[in-house]
Amino acid sequence: MNSDYINIALADDDEDDRLFFTEAFDELKLKSKVLLFKDGIELMEYLNDGDNTLPSLLFLDLNMPKKSGLECLKDIKATERLREMVIAIYSTSASEEDIENTFVKGANVYIKKPNDFEKLKKVLSEVVTTNWQYQTSGLNKDNFLLRL
């Protein structure tokens, strides 16, 4: 049965980026539900509420007011219930060291926000399909590292 939607969440304080993100998923025609959060606090409130369905794929912007993506990543990895979520860092830019650091801290994907809408679509679809491979093919999720 391939009827289930993938639950995807994005936490990004930038309105335009949220727009690009939703539009990209719309155009990709993936069976997905996209949840949007304006900052880290809002995201964590949602995740920590036991009644809410957890997204299987979470996109995190690093630069957010109130609570940064890195802080969210740390909190998520420290919470048993949230640990299994696949985390994709979705950021403007970072040094090689910073990227390695986020991987070490438990991120699975690092996406440098592309400057072209088509590229964005390609990148997002790649993340989703790779994620799907990991979910369905019994691959070791500890080895899920993807940089785009």
Binding site: T92, P114, D116
Partner: protein
């Protein structure tokens, strides 16, 4: 601890004293023995004379006796009586003279007996003679007996004299033996003493000479110390723990702004100059010093009479001298200038660090934050191009293309700038890394363009070094991509990477380096090259030798290389000729 010399002197003195005492003892013994001997000789002579006197007295008595017998004149009895008394006194004297000799005493007894018998004989004959005037048979017999008695007495005396003579000779022999050795012994001992004294004298004079030299050295040293104390703003002091007395060097007085030795060197007097805020702390430290017998480095301020404040630093350590007296040797230094200099340097450093940080932060924030809007502009443009293409005129589409390439260039600039600022700010963690591995990574990164240009990279075995691996990898990427970019049209690029270890002093550019050895890594290509005059310029930020349309680039790549090499305390150089390829030479220091 006693010096060898003083120990030697002490030994010599003790030996000399002992020898003199010995000589004294011997002398005394010999003299007393000598006097003993002379007494014995004297006694011997008086004994002889007494014995002889006895005989003569007996003879006198006999003469008196005979005269009486012949004459019956009582006149002859007087000398007889007299000699009788004399003999008795002689015998008394003999008693005292021979007490010490047993054999002689026995003989004296016999003599006394014989003399007694003789006198008995006299008495008998007298009583016979008184009755008769004529010589009777009895009398004749008595006279005859008296004659025999007399002979015996003589024999006794002769025996005694003989014995005495023997004793005398024996004594004399012993004495001669003893006295004969004495001068030799004295002489020998004197010689020994003399030798010891001479040795002691030489030793002492030698020591004295050395002492004198030492004294001169000490004097020079003291003067030098005083000079150096003045020049270097230091001072010394000694605390005699046993007596609780201090001794301050001249300069310590100067350090508190006073004339040398102008006040009694006591703690109380010194405390008068200590800054009131520091006096408690210093007091505690000094108390601790008295307990622990060591003063760790202590800094405090002193106030001169004219109000000048100086910073002093003191340190002291306990030392035992040879006599076992405990002393603390202390050093006090004026560190005001050093502190002031340090403070200035610190301040400058902080300022510099702050400006550096601000600059880097500005650089980073500017380039990082500039990316956000730029990225949106580009994304919106791509949306416009895709969704609204049909509504835009041809010239409008051209404008969009121009905008796209302009923003792409801006993006490249921003990214390079960001990377440049990151080479400053990133954590400088030097780890032992195999450079071959970093080069492999660099090649992997550049795999696409290497394949596209059909480039060949030939590489020596590179060393393992302490480096910031991210940066060195970036350095390799930048240099190789530079070579790939400026390759000659239609000629596949060949990049040769060579390595060798060099002595710093052999290379002009690094001969003043603090490191003895450098790794020399050369990247040689067969590209278009450049005029040697531009060799320094190419490493400057935003410097480009070619027009933008010819070769894309921002002029930051090689500036980043320079920065990275400098971060590793190295030097980067470029050598080239137009159309003859370029060489990039990197010198990185290392320790063997």
């Amino acid at each position: 601890m006693p010096t060898p010399s003083s120990r030697y002197l002490r030994t010599a003195f003790i030996v000399g004293l002992f020898v003199i005492l010995c000589i004294g003892g011997f002398t005394y013994k010999h003299i007393s023995e000598l006097s003993q001997t002379s007494k014995v000789v004297k006694d011997n002579y008086s004994l002889r004379s007494e014995l002889e006197l006895i005989i003569s007295n007996l003879k006198d008595a006999e003469i008196g006796h005979r005269g009486f017998l012949l004459t019956h004149d009582s006149l002859f009895l007087n000398p007889y009586e007299e000699s009788l008394q004399k003999v008795t006194s002689n015998l008394h004297k003999l008693d005292t003279l021979i007490v010490s000799n047993g054999e002689q005493v026995e003989k004296l007894k016999e003599l006394k007996e014989d003399i007694k018998k003789r006198f008995n004989n006299f008495d008998k004959s007298f009583s016979l003679a008184k009755d008769d005037t004529i010589l009777t048979q009895d009398l004749l017999f008595l006279l005859h007996e008296g004659e025999i008695r007399m002979d015996r007495i003589r024999a006794d005396i002769t025996a005694m004299l003989d014995l005495e003579q023997r004793l005398l000779t024996h004594n004399q022999e012993i004495n001669e033996k003893k006295i004969g050795l004495t001068p030799l012994l004295f002489y020998g001992l004197l010689i020994v003493t003399l030798v010891i004294l001479l040795l002691a004298y030489f030793k002492m004079s030698k020591d004295l000479k050395a002492l004198k030299e030492n004294n001169i050295e000490l004097e020079i040293f003291e003067k030098l110390t005083k000079q150096s104390e003045i020049v270097s703003n230091t001072s010394t002091w000694v605390w005699y723990i046993e007596d609780n007395e201090f001794e301050f060097s001249d300069n310590l007085y100067r350090l508190v702004g006073e004339e040398p030795q102008s006040f009694e060197p006591t703690l109380e007097n010194f405390y008068k100059y200590v800054h009131e805020e520091d006096i408690n702390h210093l007091g505690q430290q000094v108390n601790m010093m008295m307990r622990e017998e060591e003063l760790p480095f202590t800094t405090y301020r002193v106030v001169h009479k004219d109000g000048t404040i100086r910073h002093l630093k003191a340190y002291s350590k306990m030392m035992d001298d040879t006599e076992g007296d405990k002393k603390m040797f202390g050093v006090t230094i004026d560190v005001t200038n050093e502190l002031e200099n340090y403070r200035i340097i610190e301040q400058r450093n902080q300022e510099l660090e702050r400006t550096n940080k601000e600059l880097s932060a500005f650089n980073y924030v500017a380039s990082h934050d500039l990316q956000e809007p730029l990225r949106k502009i580009q994304t919106f443009m791509s949306r416009l191009e895709a969704k609204e293409k049909d509504h835009i005129s041809e010239s409008g589409q051209l404008y969009i293309q121009r905008m796209k390439s302009a923003s792409a260039r801006m993006r490249m600039l921003i990214e390079d700038l960001l990377q440049y600022s990151r080479t400053n700010t990133s954590e400088k963690e030097y780890l032992r890394t195999n450079m071959n591995m970093l080069l492999e990574h660099a090649k992997t990164e550049l795999l696409d363009s290497i394949e596209e240009k059909q480039a060949t990279i030939i590489c020596d075995d590179l060393p393992t070094m302490d480096v910031i691996s991210f940066q060195i990898q970036q350095l390799f990427i930048n240099i190789i991509s530079n070579s790939l970019k400026y390759s000659r049209e239609g000629v596949p690029p060949i990049i040769e990477i060579t390595h060798q270890e060099v002595l710093s002093k052999d290379v002009e550019e690094i001969k003043d380096s603090l490191y003895k050895f450098h790794h020399k890594i050369t990247f040689k290509d067969n590209g278009i090259g450049f005029e040697q005059t531009y060799a320094d310029k190419i490493f400057l930020l935003f410097n480009r030798l070619h027009g933008k349309s010819e070769y894309s680039g921002t002029g930051i790549g090689l500036a980043i290389c320079k920065k990275i090499v400098e971060n590793h305390k190295g030097v980067i150089l470029a050598e080239s000729m137009p159309n003859a390829g370029a060489s990039f030479i990197i010198y990185l220091p290392f320790l063997k």
